[in-house]
């Protein structure tokens, strides 16, 4: 049995390296994206093998689902009309400059990586990190899933900043581009039915992941990513929200995650004296509130990132992009 898992792990590791190499080296960009999506799929399996199911869930939703859709849409906009040669980059354009000394970075990186490998292997084979501290405080953290406890309580401050990063990415995207709200090719009955059928299931699964996250793998990011995927599917099926919703209501939903986080941070600062210090009896409820708000924001932000522009600017800049 250990032999079997060892073979499985080695094969998975080699496949990951091979996929990464091919995705980065093949001249055809479309092929590269498909290989990258497959890479994400295998990454999720690797997280499972490393006993990190929370990470695997996040990777499954974001890495294998959303990033693939984002890349596909970007590739399509990069070459809107040309179908020539199946997105192949002409070989002479593929590589920077005249790298007649291309071996130089290759050899440098090889040496550095060998060194890094040596350093990694020099680490002690047994180390518990912070798992004893996490276990000792899990009881009063408000969540029995240690990853959720770390994300929302022990290191909740990182999570606060990180939700702001997501909002910031959207601000950046919106300042660059206007949304393409008119692109509504008829989805066809199959896609339309698929979107209608799956959307409620997406929402149910997101709610399930959010709920289960307190005591088992799951949580706000995974749930938010699933919700975002539902939004992306609807957008792909040609659905567009009414323009009335695209102004302040949309912005309110986008900021509800960071806003609730900041409010809780301020309140805990006032009451408990330390930012994000939850009273142990209410920690569970607070975490659930924070996670619910974060899930909604993350989901809508991811879908808005896929839409790829500011919906407010739609009418003015229609012929611009």
């Amino acid at each position: 049995m250990t032999l079997l898992t060892w073979i499985f792990d080695s094969l998975l590791g080699l496949s990951l390296l091979w996929l990464a190499w091919r995705a980065l080296a093949c001249p055809n960009l479309f092929k590269a994206i498909v290989l990258f999506v497959a890479f994400g799929l295998l990454m999720a399996l690797a997280w499972v093998r490393l006993a990190a199911p929370d990470v695997a869930l996040a990777e499954a939703a974001i890495g294998a689902g959303l990033t693939g859709a984002l890349l596909m849409a970007a590739l399509a906009k990069l070459h809107p009309t040309e179908a020539h040669n199946d997105f192949a980059v002409p070989p002479e354009k593929n590589v920077t400059k005249v790298w007649s000394w291309q071996w130089l970075p290759a050899i440098t990186i090889l040496l550095v990586t060998t060194g890094l490998g040596y350093v990694v292997l020099s680490l002690p084979p047994y180390a518990t990190g912070l798992s004893t501290e996490v276990a000792a405080n899990l009881e009063i953290s408000g969540a029995s899933n240690p990853v959720t406890a770390v994300l929302l309580n022990f290191r909740g401050y990182d999570t606060l900043l990180e939700i702001v990063v997501l909002l910031l990415a959207l601000l950046g995207v919106w300042s660059l581009n206007s949304a393409d709200l008119d692109h509504k090719a008829a989805p066809g009955i199959v896609l339309d039915t698929l979107a209608r059928l799956l959307t409620p299931i997406f929402i149910l699964v997101a709610a399930y992941l959010l709920w289960v996250g307190a005591h088992a793998p799951g949580g706000a990011f995974q749930a938010g990513a699933v919700l975002g995927a539902a939004g992306v599917l609807l957008l792909l099926a040609g659905w567009r929200p009414r323009t009335g919703l695209m102004a302040l209501p949309l912005r309110l939903v986008l900021v509800i995650g960071p806003a609730i986080f900041v409010i809780v941070a301020m309140l805990t600062l006032l009451i408990a004296g330390q930012m994000l210090e939850y009273p142990p009896t209410q920690a569970g409820a607070l975490i659930l509130i924070l996670e619910t708000a974060a899930t909604v924001s993350i989901g809508v932000t991811l879908a808005a990132l896929f839409l790829g522009g500011d919906p407010r600017k739609n009418n003015r800049n229609k012929n611009h992009t």
Binding site: M1, L4, T5, I7, F8, L11, L12, S15, C26, N28, F30, K31, I33, V34, V37, A38, L41, L42, A44, L45, V48, P53, A56, L57, A60, A61, A64, G65, G68, A69, M72, A73, A76, K77, H79, T81, E82, A83, N85, D86, F87, A185, L191, L194, L198, F202, V205, Y208, L209, V212, A216, P217, G218, Q222, V226, A229, V232, L233, L236, A237
Partner: protein, 92 residues
């Protein structure tokens, strides 16, 4: 039973590796996409087998998310990234 689950998971992983050939070979974008679709299903099967082998119920949730998102990339491909003319690359 555990060795069987693991052996089958390994077998499916090998299958997946073999399918990679189609991604590399093409010839059309649709062929590559089909292979990716098969990878998704295979990954779901591997996850279900591992869930049983390691008695870890959480892995079924991951399989569920995979199954749910199985359409995403393919739909994005069909609706956005598929070039309109491809016929002239088909004949080999």
């Amino acid at each position: 039973m555990q060795p069987l689950y693991l052996a089958l998971a390994l077998f499916l992983l090998l299958n997946l590796g073999a399918g990679m050939w189609r991604v590399l070979r093409g010839p059309t974008a649709a062929d590559r996409m089909l292979a990716a679709q098969l990878f998704g299903t295979t990954a779901v099967a591997i996850l279900l087998l591992l869930a049983q082998a390691t008695a870890n119920a959480a892995l079924r949730d991951i399989a569920l998310v995979f199954a749910l998102l199985a359409t995403m990339t393919a739909v994005a491909f069909v609706r956005r990234a598929w070039p309109n003319r491809e016929a002239n690359h088909e004949s080999k």
